[in-house]
């Protein structure tokens, strides 16, 4: 597989959430992101450098400056198409020059905001061959663009002549128009055709008015230009043509300058894209107090107080506490504990930390030791095949596991959430034990959550337990769901503890069912059954 994880795994480990958090602000960043690939085994040196640079900027640069940079990148127009047009010999138009000026301003702003060493590798190039300064001649105080006289002396001359010719024509025409308007009894006549009502006419139609069409009650007319006005009109049109030529010559010269600097401009576009992605990462690291992990070669993941941010953020929005997780996994492990005790969250945290590394961002933890991987696979609840509806839950889990084992990635992290729970417990347990043993023998990292008993011992895996439930009082079923969930959360210890003797996991499912409102007689009968 080209990607490090499939869509279902991406959702399960919070990689989707992470990608959204790291979304670039502008078009350059979005384009750069399409070309970006995830970091995998073999990219250790690059990963160390990238993450260290992001962490340094997150530590040393004020958030306000990073946000200003992001805002500048968000509004920078994309000059890609106009650069290509100019490079192929086309003459750009004034809207192109306006956009190019804005782009160069954005580059200038980005250069200013990245003026220190922390941005050394992603700072946009300052050199634009003087293009920005040249285009500045067309920028007004209010940052509009006009093909101003300053671009060329011949433009000034042509425009002055054109203005004079227009004034001469207006004057010649206005003499005629005034006489015609006076005859028509109106203040002024519209350009082009106009109507004179016969009952308003005060005498024969004067020679300044040409009749286009007659009717019993009105005349459709237009102004008849005399020799002087026609001459002035011809001179005006000729002067306007000179202006057009002069303006086009300036555009051609400007376009040639753009063409000459095309590769530098394209490089600036690429750098802005890389900068956009970099700033998104730095802001993420700053926002979530991330640290630089130790990137290791061996098959182990260890972290202290790591946070699965999608859950931590959602809980914070509801005013609820989140307990960071500490874990040291060498090879294969099993996590057991009651429902709602945080087993799945432990798996997700593991995947999330791996995803942060693959995306080149510092990790939300107090300390972390992580390897780069070739694949992260989520099996069990929420796995890819589980949602297509054609296979049973059991069948789709087996199909996913079979596909993963066939791929044989050299360094993978497998997260198995209650794998094989939907078949007979005896055979389901056997399958899970066998799967973990196989993964261990292949050098994979794996963590499996399960309610099956004595899996860790049989698979020679580390055993962690989570979520020890305190006793629930009998009246808790009457609390209502929200309050019951709060009480359960308070009763849980979501921290992972290493279990040395592979004792049966404490489930406390009946106590939880009672707290969640299951009928007392049903619970009573269940207790008798135990």
């Amino acid at each position: 597989m080209n990607a490090l994880w499939d869509a279902a795994t991406s959702g399960a480990i919070g990689a989707d959430w992470l990608q959204a958090e790291l979304a670039p602000a502008g078009d350059f960043g979005r384009r750069a992101r399409l070309k970006e690939r995830l970091l995998r085994r073999g990219d250790e040196a690059r990963a160390r450098g990238d993450i260290a640079r992001v962490a340094a900027v997150a530590r040393d640069v004020e958030g306000g400056r990073l946000r200003a940079l992001r805002a500048a990148l968000a509004t920078a127009p994309d000059p890609g198409a106009l650069i290509a047009r100019a490079a192929s010999g086309g003459v750009l138009d004034d809207v192109d020059f306006f956009e190019l000026s804005r782009f160069l301003e954005s580059v200038g702003e980005a250069v200013l905001l990245t003026g220190d060493g922390a941005f050394a590798d992603v700072r946009p190039p300052l050199a634009d061959g003087g293009l920005r300064a040249h285009l500045e001649q067309g920028r007004t105080v209010s940052r509009t663009f006009y093909l101003a006289d300053a671009f060329a002396p011949e433009l000034t001359i042509a425009r002055e002549r054109s203005q004079a010719a227009q004034t001469a024509f207006d004057l010649a025409r206005s003499h005629l128009a005034e006489r015609a308007a006076r005859y028509a009894g109106v203040e002024s006549l519209r350009d082009g055709e106009f109507v004179l009502m016969r009952d308003r006419l005060t005498g024969p139609v004067p020679r300044e008015i040409r009749i286009v069409r007659e009717s019993p009650t009105y005349l459709l007319c237009e102004l008849a230009l005399d020799e002087e006005a026609l001459q002035a009109q011809a001179e005006r049109d000729a002067a306007a043509a000179c202006v057009a030529d002069a303006e086009e010559a300036v555009r051609a010269r400007l376009s040639a300058r753009v063409a000459a600097g095309a590769s530098a401009l394209e490089h600036a576009c690429e750098t802005l894209g890389a900068l956009d992605l970099f700033v998104a990462r730095a802001l993420f690291a700053q926002r979530h107090a991330c640290i630089v992990p130790e990137i290791v070669q061996r098959a182990e993941i260890a972290f202290e107080e790591a946070r699965y941010l999608p859950l931590a953020t959602a809980l914070a929005e509801r005013g609820r506490a989140y307990l960071p997780l500490t874990l040291e996994l060498n090879g294969v492990g099993v996590v057991t504990g009651p429902n709602m005790g945080g087993k799945t969250a432990a798996l997700r945290t593991l995947g999330f930390v791996a995803a942060c590394l693959a995306l080149g961002v510092p990790v939300p933890a107090r300390a972390a030791r992580v390897p780069l991987l070739d694949e992260v696979a989520w099996l069990g609840i929420g796995a890819p095949g589980a949602s297509d509806g054609l296979l049973s839950t059991f069948a789709s889990e087996i199909v996913d596991a079979a596909a993963f084992l066939q791929r044989r990635p050299s360094r993978a992290l497998v997260l198995a959430d209650e794998f094989a729970r939907t078949t007979s417990p005896r055979e389901g347990r056997a399958l899970l034990v066998a799967l973990l043993a196989t993964l261990r023998s292949r050098g994979c990292l794996a963590l499996a959550s399960t309610h099956f008993e004595r899996v860790a011992e049989a698979a020679d895996a580390s055993h962690y337990a989570t979520g020890i439930v305190a006793a629930f009082a009998d009246d808790e079923a009457t609390l209502g769901l929200d309050a019951a969930l709060q009480r359960i959360a308070q009763a849980m210890d979501y921290g992972l503890r290493i279990v040395t003797a592979d004792a049966p996991p404490r489930a406390d499912a009946l106590a939880l069912a009672g707290a969640l409102g299951l009928d007392g007689t049903v619970l009573e009968r269940a207790r008798e059954e135990l």
């Binding site: 809207v95 020059f97 106009f194 009502m197």
Partner: protein, 298 residues
């Protein structure tokens, strides 16, 4: 008297900072009115903006190939148009590139720096047009909007004075054209609802079928639409159904006048009697930019 200046004065009297011209048909003379108003604003040196719904200002009608007025603008006029239609000469000042698009591409805001003709193109939706008008208002005090045939939805959400254009192209006779104009004006003038009386609120557009069903059911309560542009039928059908229903709206529009274009390539109406007919039927002042005539409401 310059009738375009008089029309501007009428809009300003009621505090309107924008004026939209809508037509009863194609070639009803909308662009002629806009050109006359642009000329009047230019003469008084008032900075103004010009926007359009759809494409306008071409020298030849894009659909019919018939001659159309282009907009001659004096220096200082701001206009919204497709980037490809910004005149190459005389060069215009590029003020902004908007995020709105039309069939011809991105819409930009530009300002004329020398006298010349421009072609105008606008976005196809009412909401986008409102955003373009807002962008123009940031640049100038008064905005002219050239509407499009059967696109009165563009008036939604705006505080524009509205001029309804009718011409010889609208119908085969002057009386029929005046009827069409009266129906459109009546629709635009649907009164605001009375909160003290019972009402039926219509969610979205009111179709002719729904209105007919309400008539058959003997509905006597107010029928409330968000604004008159939500009434999805017009002409005689509207007049007939509106006679039998108490149609109301939450947000009223502001039709202030009509314009007439009595001469068309294929037919002509007698200017004065046509204007009188329209004034009588609509009870609005009527302006004829060709004949420089203003006919007061009867």
């Amino acid at each position: 008297m310059n009738v375009a200046a008089a029309l501007l004065a009428q809009a300003r009297e009621i505090g309107m900072a924008s004026l939209a011209v809508v037509g009863t048909s194609k070639n009803a003379g909308k662009s002629v009115v806009i050109a006359a108003l642009a000329d009047a604003l230019g003469r008084e040196s008032t900075p103004f903006g010009l926007a359009s719904l759809g494409r306008d200002g071409e020298s030849v009608d894009a659909l019919e190939g018939t001659p159309k007025p282009r907009f001659w603008l004096r220096p200082g006029a701001t206009f919204a148009t497709a980037a490809v239609l910004v005149p190459r000469s005389p060069a215009a000042e590029i003020v902004a590139v908007t995020s709105e698009r039309c069939a011809l591409g991105t819409i930009v805001i530009a300002r004329s720096r020398a006298p010349g003709c421009v072609e105008i193109a606008g976005p196809p939706s009412a909401a986008a047009l409102r955003r373009v008008v807002t962008a123009l208002r940031a640049q100038c005090g008064f905005v002219l909007i050239d509407g499009a045939v059967d696109r009165i939805a563009a008036l939604r959400g705006g505080e524009d004075a509205i001029v309804v254009a009718v011409g010889a192209a609208t119908a085969s006779t002057a009386a029929r054209a005046a009827d069409e104009c009266a129906a459109l004006v009546a629709k635009l003038r649907v009164p605001p609802h009375d909160a003290t009386h019972e009402a039926v609120a219509i969610d979205g557009a009111l179709t002719a079928g729904e209105a007919a069903a309400l008539v058959r059911a003997g509905e006597r309560r107010q029928i409330i639409v968000t604004d008159p542009t939500q009434i999805a039928f017009g002409g005689r059908v509207f007049l007939e159904l509106a006679r039998q229903l108490d149609l109301r709206c939450r947000e009223s529009l502001h039709p202030i006048a009509c314009s007439v274009a009595p001469l068309w390539a294929e037919r002509a109406f007698e200017p004065r009697s046509f204007a009188r007919d329209v004034a009588q039927r609509t009870r609005l002042p009527v302006y004829d930019m060709y004949a420089n005539l203003k006919t007061d409401a009867a």
